[in-house]
């Protein structure tokens, strides 16, 4: 009969192999991070490329956006940022609507001003029962043309674009927000973001 120690080793090895096999299987479905040019800012030759998966209603995303904006202001030539949507619809009730407004702003070339307004004033709209009035106000401030915005919001492919980003994130192993890929290295949360960015830009804010 097999000894207990030998059986233990076989079980441990079997569990490790099974977990690694599932991990490899999941990684086979990973899609590439193709850039959506409407939601990119910064030089293509920049030494640091950041792809962020954002939920506009998550407070940690607002905190991360503030930090990235600060460091981008200090090193505009060294950073390229791309935004992907990752709305956590089960946790945040306005996140999908915020994403569709941001996407419609992006289609008019106004993604970044809309993004900034959404994250900077998150505390104002987040507790509201309906936030659409405030999002429309932000769109106006961002310079988005309103008739085109209304048409865009009614279009089903806007939500589809948002969901495509979310599916891409899931295929890359994104589970929570904010998740960043800094030169393809995954980091989650603003603490890890700053730890990683400090390696490129010592004494980051």
């Amino acid at each position: 009969m097999m000894s207990k120690q030998k059986l233990t080793l076989m079980i441990v090895a079997g569990a490790v192999i099974a977990a690694v096999a599932v991990k490899v299987f999941l990684s086979l479905s990973v899609q590439s991070l193709d850039p959506s040019l409407m939601r990119v800012k910064g030089d293509l030759a920049a030494k640091v490329h950041i792809v962020e998966f954002i939920d506009f209603q998550c407070p940690a995303c607002a905190d991360g956006a503030f930090k990235i904006k600060k460091i981008y202001t200090l090193h505009p030539k060294d950073i390229r940022i791309e935004m992907k949507y990752f709305p956590l619809v089960t946790v945040h009730r306005h996140t999908m609507t915020a994403s569709t407004y941001a996407e419609c702003a992006a289609r008019q070339g106004k993604f970044w001003p809309m993004h900034d307004l959404l994250v900077e004033r998150q505390a104002q709209w987040s507790p509201l029962i309906s936030a659409e009035g405030m999002f429309t106000q932000f769109a106006r401030e961002a310079g988005v043309e309103e008739v085109t915005l209304r048409r865009c919001l009614a279009s089903p492919d806007v939500e589809q674009t948002v969901m495509q980003d979310r599916d891409l994130g899931r295929s890359l192993g994104v589970q929570s927000t904010p998740t960043y890929f800094i030169n393809n290295k995954m980091v989650v949360g603003s603490k890890s973001l700053m730890d990683e960015l400090n390696q490129y830009f010592p004494q980051s804010p």
């Binding site: 233990t8 079980i11 946790v91 995954m186 989650v188 949360g189 890890s192």
Partner: protein, 145 residues
């Protein structure tokens, strides 16, 4: 019958919890560990990599019933750690929406999870006290005949 069943249920919970974290990038669990603001940076990374494997192995051995008594003690320690970590977060009123204990599969608040962990801790104490009954339907039985 109830004792081996409870052993398998608690083991399955740990197994599922560990597995859901192990198959995804460790950075997701690191984010959860960081939210508890308890460890220095290097220890947070270490915990994020090691803890899911510990959960998975303890869960697996509990389900199979191999080294049952030793694994029950390890599981007790693990749940004690969970309880302390969540309790300190509650006492410090840390802004945690959910505990992050089960990856993205189940989302429970810290208050819910401390009740659940305490219940599991009590169950494990009972199982350890009645270890002869707990060892029924286990691989250990094969080696004690």
């Amino acid at each position: 019958m109830i004792f081996p069943l409870l052993r398998i249920v608690v083991g399955s919970i740990l197994l599922a919890s560990g597995f859901s974290k192990v198959i995804h990038p460790y950075q997701n669990f690191l984010y959860v560990v960081q939210a508890y603001q308890l460890l220095p940076g290097w220890a947070e990374t270490l915990a994020a990599i090691v803890m899911p494997w510990v959960e998975l192995m303890i869960g697996l051995f509990l389900v199979l019933g191999l080294w049952t008594i030793q694994v029950l003690r390890w599981a007790l320690m693990l749940f004690a750690v969970f309880i302390v970590v969540v309790a300190q977060a509650l006492m410090r009123v840390l802004p945690l929406d959910h505990c992050g204990c089960f990856g993205s599969w189940i989302q429970a608040t810290p208050r819910q999870i401390i009740v659940f962990d305490s219940f599991c801790f009590l169950v494990l104490m009972v199982l350890l006290r009645h270890w002869t009954k707990t060892r029924r339907f286990s691989l250990d039985e094969r080696f004690t005949r």
